[in-house]
Symmetry: C2
Amino acid sequence: MKKKSIKDIAQDLGVSKTTVSFVLNKKGDEKNISKKTQKVILDYIEEVGYQPNQIAKSLKNGTTNTIGYLVPDISNPFYAKIGRMIEDLLWEKGYHLLIGSTDEKKEKEELLLNMFVNRQVDGLIIASCFIKGDVLKSLSRQNFPMVFFDREDPEFLANYILVENKNPMKEAIQKTIDKGAKKIGLLSITPDVYSLKLRIDGYKQALTDNALEYDENLLRIVDYNHIKESAQKELKYLIEAGVDVVVFTNNQITATAIWLMNMHYPEKVKEITFVSFDNLDIFDYSMPRVISIAQPIMSIARQSVDILEEVIKNKESKNTRIELKPKLIER
Amino acid sequence: MKKKSIKDIAQDLGVSKTTVSFVLNKKGDEKNISKKTQKVILDYIEEVGYQPNQIAKSLKNGTTNTIGYLVPDISNPFYAKIGRMIEDLLWEKGYHLLIGSTDEKKEKEELLLNMFVNRQVDGLIIASCFIKGDVLKSLSRQNFPMVFFDREDPEFLANYILVENKNPMKEAIQKTIDKGAKKIGLLSITPDVYSLKLRIDGYKQALTDNALEYDENLLRIVDYNHIKESAQKELKYLIEAGVDVVVFTNNQITATAIWLMNMHYPEKVKEITFVSFDNLDIFDYSMPRVISIAQPIMSIARQSVDILEEVIKNKESKNTRIELKPKLIER
DNA sequence: ACGATTTAGTAAACCGATTTAGCAAAACCG
DNA sequence: CGGTTTTGCTAAATCGGTTTACTAAATCGT
């Protein structure tokens, strides 16, 4: 017994497709379908367990009630948690989430974007590694509903939900300097991403504000494709250089470094302080001590959904830029 | 300049939709379209940046190249990581992932399942909280391509990718008993899930094997809807009861308990040992010491995808049941 | 009782692709 | 040169819904 379509139902009951469609969409009264016919149809629907084909609906309506969520890695807790909140917020509005992880690769990002667009998603929520790519440019020109979060390209006008980067990073580092830090290193993944660059700027600013020498050898870049090995090498460099504070530009790299410290330098975990952009629960008790900058995950999700909903409704793009304040967690 | 359809292209070039469609699908030669016409069409396609409407394709073909991934919580690292691997594996085969989090709620699970089916997903990968529900039963009757992982219902025949539960749990606990553990408590979320029940059985078995008394007061159930508060209460109970080992049935509850121990009982973290089904990186260095049972995440993802692909291809369901071996990590 | 309105419903076009069946012109064959 | 085959292309049906335009019968108003 294969699945029934509206046509089958109409035939079985000896009415027209139109009538069935009206009743299914609760337009029975409005369209003058008699109560009796309505009941017959509804009962039969119930009996055979009819389920509408959303694909057909989407084709006709031109809307899929699906949103694309494009991030570097959906299994990174930051993106996973925001994704989960977005899922819940959209669920209430009848939307669902199609996901894609870019691995910070431009090529994959563009393939995924095209895939999303081909599937007629109604909108996109994106943490892009390469905002100025052709596909995004072209979508932007067409006023395709999009909201960018976590990362921006200042030369690309769009809807952004961001978190202040430079100052909070500077202030977090200042706390360690106030407590006597003298030699401060930094570990980051690719600084090509503008938001990460701003965080690094905050680091530099903190140093110069305090008349500490900025030694570019203490700014180490980790290879995203081999995080563990690369971080191990760079962390070793910093420790041997005698730093008392290490700064990280995102949670993933901090978590890796905490693990590395405990595995390879357990005797040093008490002497060194970490500063992390992004927060994780484990920072509450892990060693080394971590001063972290917690991003307002819930707000990011909520604002992204709100703005996206707005641009989907009013086809005009407004290029809203919202900058949220992160929270400094000392410890 | 709105998006062009095949019809527009055909009109613009003065050929038929059929011809355009053939060329787009690389059937030009086979269908005797002259090289010249093919080139004209391909060039024009390129020029206007034509993108096919997947929704229309799907409606006609009856296949969406989309798989539904249904889990209790996509932001739980276990499901997030498996999801990510599945995403990558499916990506190579041209499939994409639609996600849904059930929050262990039967009602939400069934709404999501219907949503997935309505959207005509080609298959489902599911960690279900309620396998015997009506929707799954009905899908199973229709031979809908599905693979279940992480959780099973022994009375429900289906494709399962599982991990052995009882014995590994028993053996992990045995290690602590060998080292002198006397009073062993357990913390779990809902034991209605059969796999969790098996883990709990392993716990009971370990006790009886060693002639330790099984005290059901030491088996504490945490409310999934208020994990932190509830875990705090139950953990407190166990600690005050004087346990020297606490066993957990999944990573989420272990992570919560580690945090609670460090926050509320820092003086006890050295005296107590944790046993956790599921592993997390932090267990490598966190206190209390954790003996964990690491699930073979990569294999789970790979097998799920392989089996699903198979059942999608051969519409017959085979009800394969694969049980993988987890790995004990002592520390 | 007769025209106007309301009730109850339907046929057909449409969304954007794929695919079957078929047609006209050109090329081939003996 | 007449018949067959090949080449090059197209009209129309289809997937499963929604929606517009329309009709026939019943009811209403006077």
